[in-house]
Symmetry: C2
Subunit: 146 residues, 2 copies
């Protein structure tokens, strides 16, 4: 069961400049940052609020580490903007199986590693009214920045 | 101060079909629906979780009521997908003034009426790394559906 908006994924050309925009404009701080070589992104998670299921909602700022990554190709086509949205669940495997059984294409056979040790999968945007949709099960985490 | 992800605004061609997709696929239910003639949209708010500032996070599904509305023009150009993101604040007037003072273009001189009696304004996406960004101060609300 999906119990929160986990994050909004935003693709950008320059992560440091975009982090600085969100800090200077809104006061949002980096909670965690990492490079995910499998996804081909350098990313920063800005924690915005905690959620009623015991999790939190983040902005995830994404800069491609290579042009042929999914985010790199998306940026070249669309320019900067919202790349995907993510819902949090306690059991990404069960939700992916259930949703896949309804005819929505699940993009990974098995969930992969996402931000902060989470396990993630994606749903095909053409099956989701144009919205690239991620499902996330978080790992217990501590901030790497504070 | 912005204290939550208030909603993700998603533009769609057919509100009823898109509401049904979110219900059938994820179990999300309509918390509130309305027509906003000023914005030129028919919309449904799906409440996803409550937030640590005492508010909540929603998906806002938007169908244009006329082709020349902002959402209608956006849909004709982009197709279905994420149209904007919105941050919640206790004082949209103060935040809009502060953010505008930093050189980000605020699209309304005064906040206008948003979903469920809220007061809203928008920031220019070209000043926000490609993201159309809304600021929202909620009114106290009850669901119109439950």
């Amino acid at each position: 069961m999906l119990t929160r908006i986990d994050h909004i994924g935003i693709a950008c050309f320059d992560l440091d400049r975009t982090v600085e925009f969100y800090r200077a404009t809104y006061g949002f701080e980096v909670f965690h940052s990492e490079v995910n070589e499998e996804q081909g992104v350098r990313e920063a998670m800005l924690k915005i609020n905690e959620t009623s299921d015991g999790g939190a909602s983040y902005l995830q700022l994404l800069e491609p580490t290579r042009e042929d990554s999914a985010v790199g190709k998306w940026l070249a086509k669309n320019g900067e903007g919202v790349h995907h949205i993510a819902f949090g669940t306690a059991d990404v495997d069960a939700d992916a199986a259930e949703i896949g059984g309804k005819g929505v294409r699940v993009l990974y056979e098995e969930p992969r590693r996402g931000s902060m040790g989470s396990r993630i999968t994606f749903l095909h945007p053409k099956d989701c009214h144009g919205v690239l949709t991620e499902l996330v099960t978080s790992a217990p985490v501590e901030s790497s920045e504070h």
